[in-house]
């Protein structure tokens, strides 16, 4: 296509004339806008969790003057948290299976794995609720000391991310069930999956850095 084209009219138009072209103008990168959006958001979220995790690490031993309670690390129940970490890790597997299912247009399997993923996520959240409750009973409230504020804020934010993911998964399940979301929109599931895996890798870091490293 030449740069200056004589239009059918006498006008010299600056531009190209495949106006009547039925094909899409592909994006420059060949990638869809939605997927780039999700990756950009995840890149941004790295800094959010980076700030929260480093805040926790800097503050985790600060309990203030003598009597302001235990640190979060004093109360960790590693076997329990290991189980819920494992559950979240496996939900990443079921998520990826949901994506491959919809990519081969196997909607029933996709629905099954979407729901399983949401279920595993809910188990994780239930575990977190249990953990918070038992910590609270053992005298570690949100305002008890600096360490507790930092711990609840960090894990709470992760929990909010997981909960949002569950809402998205259930919505996806409903859309697939209702037939509004077919195999041609497999990428939507894939994008939700990216978010879900991201939440999982954040927990991989939290589990190692916050819980396991003494």
């Amino acid at each position: 296509m030449s740069e200056i084209v004589q239009d059918s009219a006498t006008q010299i138009a600056y531009g190209r004339t495949d106006w009547d072209d039925h094909h899409h103008l592909p994006t420059n990168t060949g990638l869809t806008n939605e997927k780039v959006t999700m990756w950009a958001f995840l890149g941004s979220d790295c800094l959010l969790f980076g700030a929260l995790i480093s805040t926790y690490l800097l503050l985790r031993n600060r309990v203030g003057p003598s009597t302001s309670g235990p640190t979060a690390a004093d109360l960790f129940d590693i076997p329990f948290t290991s189980v819920s970490s494992f559950v979240l890790l496996m939900s990443s597997l079921t998520m990826v299976l949901a994506v491959t299912a919809i990519q081969r247009a196997d909607m029933e399997t996709c629905k099954l794995w979407l729901l399983t993923t949401a279920g595993l996520g809910s188990i994780f959240i239930a575990g977190q609720v249990y953990e918070f409750t038992s910590f609270y009973r053992e005298g570690l409230g949100f305002t008890t000391n600096i360490s507790s504020s930092a711990f609840y804020t960090l894990t709470g934010f992760h929990g909010v991310h997981v909960s949002l993911g569950i809402v998205m998964l259930v919505t996806m399940w409903a859309l697939v069930s209702g037939g509004q979301l077919g195999p041609e929109r497999a990428e939507t599931i894939e994008i939700i999956g990216l978010y879900w895996h991201f939440v999982d890798i954040v927990w991989i870091v939290i589990f190692a850095v916050v819980y396991l490293i003494p």
């Binding site: 138009a13 531009g15 990638l31 600096i146 996806m172 859309l175």
Partner: protein, 668 residues
């Protein structure tokens, strides 16, 4: 993606009834009057609204500045009490940074970037509108504090624990923390949108290294926003939790480290400095070549140094904290990185001067503002390098020397560049130029007032006058220069009144027919936004240009003859597109403004009563639901080959609408 597609068939719009056949909610398809603005998803209208709202806050922040200067006109000023003074200087800084310069840059980014890359709109038009309205509500929310017990009083940097409940018991700092949180969401939404737009929606042939420099600088700025905003988000969350839920992050009695806030704030805050200045760098990199009638000297060097500034901007934040007890190693390390970051900035200044060198300079108003950016910013940059020398900074910090420095950078740099951009792109946005002679009055009064205001601050700063103090004594010897500074501030006011008169007079003149309509290419421009009519037609481009060069439009007009001398081969106004096509554009939408209005409700609830938050949350969820159920107004959008275009998921706001209804001509 959908927006760049042209479809062959052009729907005729019967006036009035295009009630959609699908979807749960109607879309405002035939909006006119104020509705055409409030519900718009058009990047041009959104850009203009960003600019208008920012100029309103500029007036407001300017009034705050004048109050400060009235207070300091004489020793022992009595205009404001100390408490009021704290609130006024805090809100002056916060307003100017978050509600003036950032949205003004967003105005240009929204208006100009799609035009410079040959796109029909941004990637997600509804998200674009959402960003605008969140910003509008964020600004209103922040300033609501004036009526609810007093503004924030902890400085725009809000150093905790000074901003904790103990030392700032009013609700002001809550409004600050939550208001900036809301404004931050707006910036994040806008940043992602523009990043995707620039990555994905460039015209054919426009490789990254053929993008106009302004688009490049906006790209760098949006990446900085993308990565810097989460850090301030966390800092503000910690502060809010401390204030609202009695958390202990900054509770020194519990052993908190006050430097945590400073680190988090400045890790955001220093990239923020470049977020404020780089758009103006981009603007003058457009205007200087046009009015020097020479290509930009060292295009790729300017681009790379811009990206380098963006990257290195992450490694210098602690130079804001040299006297905070950082320790000698930290001070030395950040001193060194700060000296280094002056290099790419210096490279840019050199390139601009080399662009003008030997050029056929046209001293139009945008050119004058651009040159004043180069010179005034250099002064601010030089005093900035002085601060990188830590022992000197120890003397200068918290004095008016610092105030002088960052006003030379932000007013003399960022704002001068933004004014250059306004005069430069005004015909593209509104169809007529601002009056040149009034513009020159505006420029010269502003330049004199600016230097009178901020120049003497260097002197009183080095004499030891401390910032943020509501008074100085007659025995301090600061009274002469402070009087000069205050007079200068009022001269700036006169300059801005001239600007306002200019806007109103040319607008009235244009309506009356005495101010001429400009053709497509009034400045003999270089980039493709000048290849479409003034004002920009609703659909931007009739044809998507194919790009073969940097400054593509220029190369269509000027080509070398057999002797290698540049000859004009075409007139820009003749080869420009006519804007007479009538393609499909996304319909307006109710939901961006509705969704945005939920955020201040949630924030208000956090301060006063959680039930209000509940209402806000319901509104938020409901409007998200409405957003995702909103129909594409075209009944056959989404079938056949277009089906995969709308892959929006329902929770992340999808922006991709294939609406098909052509709108009426823009009402400007």
């Amino acid at each position: 993606m959908a927006i760049t597609e042209e479809r062959p068939e052009i729907l005729e719009l019967e006036s009035g009834d295009t009630s959609p056949s699908t979807g749960a909610f109607a879309r405002p398809t035939n909006a006119s009057g104020w509705r055409a603005w409030v519900f718009t998803v058009d990047h041009k209208k959104i850009g203009i609204m960003y600019g208008a709202v920012a100029m309103f806050w500029f007036l407001w922040g300017g009034i705050e500045a004048l109050l400060i200067r009235a207070q300091l006109f004489t020793p022992d000023g009595t205009v404001l009490t100390a408490e009021q003074y704290n609130q006024i200087f805090t809100m002056h800084g916060t307003t100017m940074v978050f509600l003036v310069i950032m949205p003004l840059a967003a105005a240009f980014a929204n208006y100009v970037v799609p035009l410079q890359i040959g796109a029909r709109d941004v990637a997600f038009p509804r998200m674009n509108a959402l960003g605008l309205w969140i910003f509008v509500f964020g600004g209103l929310f922040l300033n609501l504090s004036w009526f609810l017990g007093g503004g924030p009083d902890g400085g725009w940097f809000a150093y905790a624990p000074n901003t904790g409940v103990t030392f700032s018991p009013g609700a002001g700092m809550d409004f600050y923390a939550l208001g900036l949180q809301i404004a931050g969401i707006a910036s994040l939404v806008g940043a992602i949108n523009l990043i995707v737009t620039i990555l994905n929606m460039r015209a054919p042939g426009m490789t990254l290294l053929r993008m106009p420099v302004f688009t490049w600088m906006i790209f760098v700025v949006q990446l900085l926003l993308l990565f810097a905003l989460p850090v301030i988000t966390v800092a503000l969350i910690l502060l809010s939790f401390d204030r609202t839920f009695d958390a202990n992050f900054f509770n020194v009695a519990m052993g908190a480290d006050p430097l945590l806030w400073q680190h988090l704030f400045w890790i955001f805050g220093h990239p923020e400095v470049y977020i404020l200045i780089l758009p103006s760098f981009g603007i003058v990199s457009e205007t200087l070549p046009v009015f020097s009638r020479k290509p930009l000297f060292g295009y790729s060097v300017i681009v790379i140094s811009g990206a380098a500034i963006g990257f290195m901007g992450w490694g210098v934040w602690a130079h804001h904290m040299f006297v905070s007890g950082l320790g000698p190693v930290g001070v030395a390390a950040f001193s060194a990185t700060t000296m280094f970051i002056a290099v790419p900035t210096g490279v840019k200044i050199l390139n601009w001067i080399a662009t003008m060198w030997g050029g056929n300079l046209k001293f139009t108003v945008p050119m004058m503002f651009s040159i004043s950016l180069v010179s005034m910013f250099t002064i601010g940059g030089l005093s900035g390098v002085m601060h990188s020398v830590a022992p000197a900074d120890t003397q200068q910090t918290d004095t008016y020397f610092i105030v002088a420095h960052f006003h030379y950078v932000l007013f003399g740099g960022a704002l001068m560049g933004l004014f250059a951009g306004m005069y430069y792109w005004w015909p593209k946005a509104f169809g007529y130029k601002l009056n040149e002679s009034l513009g020159k009055w505006h420029f010269w009064i502003l330049l004199v007032g600016f230097n009178m205001t901020f120049g003497p601050m260097h002197i009183v700063g080095l004499q030891g006058m401390a910032r943020r103090h509501s008074r100085y004594g007659p025995e301090d010897g600061f009274d002469f220069w402070n009087a000069v500074v205050s007079i200068g501030a009022f001269i700036i006011l006169i300059g801005m009144i001239v600007f306002a008169v200019n806007i109103v007079r040319t607008w009235l003149g244009y309506k009356a027919g005495t101010v001429p309509q400009e053709p497509a290419d009034p400045w003999d421009g270089r980039t493709i936004e000048w290849a479409i009519p003034c004002p920009t037609p609703e659909h931007n481009f009739d044809y998507v240009p194919v790009i073969t060069d940097v400054d593509d439009f220029w190369h269509k007009k000027y080509q070398p003859d057999e002797n290698g001398k540049l000859r004009k081969v075409a007139d820009g106004n003749e080869i420009a597109q006519r804007g007479d096509q009538n393609p499909h554009l996304p319909s307006p939408s109710y939901w961006p403004i509705v969704l945005a209005s939920a955020l201040p409700l949630i924030a208000l609830g956090l301060i006063y009563n959680l039930w209000i938050s509940g209402v806000g949350l319901l509104l938020l969820l409901g409007s998200m639901y409405g957003w995702s159920l909103e129909p594409a107004t075209d009944p056959d959008a989404g079938h056949g080959e277009h089906a995969d275009d709308h892959g929006p998921d329902d929770v992340d706001p999808p922006g991709d609408e294939d609406s098909e209804v052509a709108e009426e001509a823009p009402v400007v």
